[in-house]
């Protein structure tokens, strides 16, 4: 019983990490039809920014980590907005060029991080309590999983509130349906694009920082590895749907953890790909019916 509880909660924790990375990716594609292969770079940049910040904030004691998280998110948001403004905006409707630019940027970012901080993973000094466990029904659950779940829950609630109760959310929802018509109502949708890229960058950076706590280290290829799962989550959930992304992230995290435990360590990655294939066979447009 305790094993099942452990798998369920750590599965939800893994799904939470995937949601943090995938939510921005889903919104960016849903609104702008941009497949952002540089999204992993936002994640890694945020993680390194927080890692650097935490090294300079030791005087803040227990506040060092939350402040470092905010620094990481701010860096992720700034990079996201900068990439949209400088590289993506001139290439709207030129999808091949967008893919080439974002793939190139992702590769360049990995090389840049390697050049600055080296290829080896750097230990990430998360708060002491994240390295401890909490006993639930006899299962010792690592506290960092609760951190991931809480962060993803807050992000989900925040995004839903943004989408449902604000004008900018209304523009995003309408833009996901029909971007041209939004412009034809006199709305400068480009500002919304920049904002969504910034939001996506901040969420990815949050995923990067908390992913570093989860992994215990930060490394140049961290974003790329998580990006693959994030894309799978977005395809399963349906592009542009935050609810679909959340459900898919949970599903992927649970399936991966369960397979790793019950079938064999490492088989979880294969099971996720099989899950993707199965969902696409049954629902080619993803769980919420939105396709690329």
């Amino acid at each position: 019983m305790s094993s099942l509880i452990l798998i369920l909660i750590t599965g939800v924790g893994l799904g939470a990490l995937y949601f943090l990375v995938a939510s921005g990716l889903s919104l960016i594609y849903g609104l702008m039809h941009v497949l952002n292969f540089a999204h992993g770079a936002f994640l890694t940049a945020g993680a390194y920014a927080a890692w650097v910040a935490i090294g300079h904030l030791t005087g803040l004691g227990g506040w060092a980590f939350p402040v470092a998280v905010l620094v990481g998110m701010a860096v992720g948001a700034a990079i996201g907005a900068g990439v949209e403004f400088c590289l993506i905006r001139p290439l709207y409707r030129r999808h091949i060029e967008q893919v080439l630019v974002t793939v190139g940027l992702g590769l360049m970012a990995v090389a840049l991080f390697t050049g600055i901080w080296g290829a080896d993973p750097q230990p990430f000094p998360g708060p002491e309590w994240t390295r401890q466990t909490t006993d639930i029904g006899g299962a010792a659950i690592p506290n960092d999983r609760f951190l991931l779940i809480a962060a993803a829950g807050l992000l989900l609630v925040g995004l839903i509130a943004l989408l449902r109760y604000t004008r900018i959310g209304l523009i995003i929802r309408a833009g996901v349906e029909n971007r041209t018509m939004v412009q034809a109502l006199g709305i400068d949708v480009r500002r919304t694009f920049t904002l969504v890229f910034a939001l996506g960058g901040a969420a990815a950076a949050l995923g990067g920082v908390l992913g570093s706590v989860y992994l215990g280290s930060v490394s140049p290829g961290q974003g790329t590895a998580l990006l693959i799962f994030a894309f799978i989550v977005v395809v399963i959930g349906g592009f542009g749907s935050i609810g679909g992304t959340a459900i898919a992230a949970l599903l992927v995290g649970m399936v991966q953890q369960m397979t790793n435990f019950y079938v064999g360590s490492g088989i979880g990655d294969v099971s996720v790909v099989l899950l993707l294939a199965a969902v696409l066979l049954v629902r080619p447009a993803g769980l919420t019916g939105r396709t690329a």
């Binding site: 004008r167 209304l170 523009i171 929802r173 309408a174 349906e177 029909n178 041209t180 018509m181 939004v182 412009q183 034809a184 109502l185 006199g186 709305i187 400068d188 949708v189 480009r190």
Partner: protein
Amino acid sequence: MTPSDGTGAILRLTDVTVRIAGSHILQGIDFEVAEGGVTALLGRNGVGKSTTLKAILGIVAADGRIEFDGREIAGLPTHRIVRAGIGYVPEDRDVFADLTVAQNLELAEQPGVAADYDTVHELFPELLERRKQRAGTLSGGQQQMVALARVMLNPARLLLVDEPTKGLAPKLVEQVGDALARIAERTTVLLVEQNLPLVRRIAESAVVLDTGRVVHRSPAAQLLVDEALLDSLLGVSGPGATPMSGKMVRET
């Protein structure tokens, strides 16, 4: 309202060409829209009528001069063209299906402009009753009301309306016609329409396109009484013509 450039034209297209995916859709069209009333843009299917509206709005890239209110607007982003005073009712309505009726209208509100909900609710009281209903669940006629209401909220000087009666039942065609007539009392309308009885009812002037070129300009009444001309330009044979199977034919 005074004529915008001294000639009475609020919109002028000069040698406008549009190429899409290698096809020469508009091949240097020239025409003007006089301020006030309704100008009908007519032609068979696929001659470039909808593309002309999209070119004016900057939704498709166009070469040539497009002047609105005496000011060049070609090349401006769509949202700036709209904010300059042009409203757009697209073919197929393009309401936001996942949003409610109220949200569709709210989205159309422009900052700093008092939205005219009074006129909208007077013309389409049904929308007030259905304000919480998702637009995707409305009938075609109700969606057309939403599409028209969105542009009526703001004080546009020119409305581009693309086949507003397409696919609607006769009773709804009449209702949409009434709304357009009411709108035309205060706003200039450039109307793409296949329903010639409606054109006859509300349009003052007509421009006919054929294979991406302007082939005829005249007062609408003059065109609609000339059966030989209608037949040669539109493939129909009388003023009672109405759309059928995507083609203009005489109403029987």
